[in-house]
């Protein structure tokens, strides 16, 4: 019997992890700011608190214009990618489903590459094109899956997604090869980056995160009903197609937003929900909320490594998440085979 309500210790742990990760992310970085001064400066910003932190103007700029937005964006992007992954896994009843499997990332990648080629990497259109590409990819995968499977069953959708992703990736590679001058820009975008973000990106991402997390969490009980079986869900008055469509749209919206501001950051959507599932239990009512917290914490910590491993040089964050994600993926596979259930 899996837990239906979030066990209190798990919730407390997740909150502590998220807050702790955020704090570490703010305290640690290539510019050596004294931790006590950073904390004093942060407290100073609270209402009715006034502390002289001793940070110089430039150090204050590093803290508030670079580190803090980077940590906040890491929390948002990590939360969205994780909860989207958990949602896709629930909708398609496939433990390996994540925002990348449906061609979402490939569609976003093609859209962004086209804009980088024609307009330039600094254009705000990159995000818009990534979003449109992601939506188009999901729409095609969904349509294909429906046409092939009659009912939109989990496995036909996944197969359609794989085909769409392969096609879009080929198209993206072709465009890239035709424009060798932008290879590195596309490359650094594909590997994911939080390196050059500021509050502008946080403001861009916040609405995507709010909508997608809210919608997915509101449907977590219905996903549990779907997990029992389609017929059973129908007898309970749930319309599986409708639930699936809404959840997939919400997860895709969130993913597209994340891709637009931070590039392609892989594996978060698999690592986090599965860790929660392995540690706490399989109910969506447990997995999805804890994934929001755990995903944020994971990405902030990964980004901290991205900043510090080769400091003052950066490692693309996608490299860090995949480096942890690859082995973890194998672990999840082994585990799901042993227990026989996702």
């Amino acid at each position: 019997m899996t837990a239906r309500r979030i066990p209190r210790p798990a919730l407390v742990t997740a909150v502590v992890l998220a807050v702790g990760a955020a704090l570490l992310g703010v305290l640690i970085g290539p510019a050596a700011l004294r931790p006590d001064r950073v904390i004093a400066e942060l407290l100073d910003r609270l209402p009715w608190v006034s502390i002289e932190s001793g940070l110089s103007e430039r150090q204050t700029a590093i803290l508030f214009e670079l580190r803090l937005p980077r940590v906040v964006l890491g929390l948002l992007v990590g939360a969205v990618l994780s909860v989207s992954g958990g949602a896709y896994q629930g909708v398609f009843r496939n433990p390996l489903a994540d925002p990348y499997l449906l061609g979402v990332a490939a569609g976003a990648g093609l859209g962004a590459t086209l804009v980088i080629v024609t307009v330039g990497s600094s254009s705000a259109l990159v995000g818009v094109a990534a979003f449109l590409g992601a939506l188009a990819a999901v729409a095609v995968a969904y349509g294909l899956g429906a046409a092939a499977g009659g009912r939109r069953t989990g496995s036909t959708l996944i197969l359609a997604g794989v085909a769409v992703a392969a096609f879009l990736t080929a198209a993206q590679t072709f465009v890239q090869q035709r424009n060798t001058d932008i290879i590195r820009e596309v490359y650094s975008w594909i590997l994911g980056r939080l390196g050059t973000v500021g509050w502008r990106e946080v403001a861009l991402m916040a609405p995507y995160a709010a909508i997608s997390i809210t919608v997915v969490l509101l449907h977590r009980r219905l996903l549990d009903v779907l997990a029992v079986g389609e017929e059973e869900a129908r007898t309970l008055g749930v319309r599986p197609e409708r639930v699936r469509l809404i959840v997939v749209l919400a997860a895709t919206l969130g993913t597209a937003g994340a891709v637009a501001v931070s590039g392609l950051i892989g594996f978060v959507g698999i690592i986090v929900p599965h860790t929660v599932r392995l540690l706490v239990g399989g109910s969506h009512r447990v997995i999805l909320p804890l994934s929001v917290l755990g995903g944020g914490a994971f990405l902030v910590v990964a980004d901290m490594f991205a900043r510090t491993v080769l400091s003052p040089a950066e490692v693309p964050i996608g490299v860090i998440t995949a480096f942890v994600g690859g082995p973890f993926f194998v672990l999840v596979l082994r585990n799901s085979q042993r227990t026989g259930a996702p």
């Binding site: 290539p30 510019a31 430039r58 590093i62 500021g198 900043r307 040089a313």
Partner: protein, 299 residues
């Protein structure tokens, strides 16, 4: 179409670093005259149908007087103007057949991604691979080698002598440095930079400047924004003003960057990307531009 050159050069330099040797290490100073052997293929007379696979080598060939023998250039060669009028080939992802179809008797490339050496070599076409050198001495050596091979040794010697004296003049005119200046040279807006150990870094070093990227081990690291700001370099040089429309204004608008003293002091200099990414005859111009920006035009 200018921006890629920085990428190409970075790639070429990276290859050079991995290979463990610049052009100086690959060949001894060649004796004059023909026949000579290039990559196992003997040529008996100066080439008359040359394909230049990089903007740098196009500029060198034209500067030493061998421009008339060049039949095609790579996609990024745009200087001198006569070179830009020639057919352009993709040397970044080259097609052996496409190169062979032009019936060249010498091909010069900076690196060999698709085994042009082997492919064209099988057709009896010699391919000279000359990657980016680490210093100006390496540049001279490369120019001399090209001069000898294409039968314009005199032109190469004259060019090298002229460059040596012009560079010496620039360096001699520098004021006595009170303390070494540091700089941040930006290759693209994701903060890829250069260390003092790179060719470009060696030019800055001639002007008494050190890169802040040396703290990241040199080479071509991608720096953290907060590191650049904490380092507060004396000068910011933009190698991405054309490709990516960067300028003092866009740099100042980046989060946190307005706290840089180079920004508030207006010491953010947009460089011509072609100058800042080729190791050809115009490195003299680049040195002049940087020296003017740092020490003033009436130094």
């Amino acid at each position: 179409m200018r921006r890629p050159i920085a990428v190409l050069m970075a790639a070429a330099l990276f290859v050079a670093a991995c290979g463990g040797g610049g052009p100086g290490a690959t060949t001894a100073p060649p004796p004059f005259g023909f026949p000579r052997e290039i990559a196992g293929i003997t040529i008996t007379e100066p080439p008359v149908r040359i394909i230049s696979g990089s903007p740098t080598h196009t500029e060198i060939l034209f500067a030493i007087g061998a421009g008339g023998a060049v039949v095609a250039v790579d996609a990024f060669s745009d200087y001198p103007a006569e070179a830009d009028d020639l057919p352009h080939l993709d040397a970044f992802n080259p097609s052996v057949e496409g190169f062979a179809a032009l019936d060249p008797d010498l091909v010069i490339v900076t690196f060999d991604p698709n085994d042009l050496v082997g492919g064209l070599g099988a057709l009896g076409i010699p391919v000279l691979v000359l990657d980016a050198p680490a210093t100006t001495e390496g540049v001279y050596k490369q120019m001399a080698e090209i001069g000898v091979i294409v039968g314009h040794g005199d032109g190469a010697t004259a060019l090298i002598d002229r460059m040596r004296s012009e560079i010496a003049e620039i360096v001699a005119g520098l004021p006595e440095a009170v303390e070494p200046l540091d700089y941040y040279h930006e290759l693209d807006p994701t903060l890829f930079s250069i260390g003092s150990d790179t060719f470009l870094g060696s030019l800055y070093a001639m002007l008494g400047m050190a890169s802040i990227a040396d703290a990241a081990g040199g080479g071509y690291p991608q720096l953290s924004a907060e590191f650049v700001i904490a380092a507060d370099p004396d000068f910011v040089f933009l190698g991405d003003s054309t490709c990516c429309a960067q300028s003092l204004e866009t740099v100042a608008a980046r989060p946190g960057w307005d706290s840089l003293s180079a920004v508030s002091g207006g010491r953010v200099i947009a460089l011509d990307e072609a100058l800042a990414s080729r190791w050809g005859p115009r490195i003299v111009d680049l040195l002049g531009v940087i020296a003017d920006a740092v020490y003033g035009e009436d130094r």
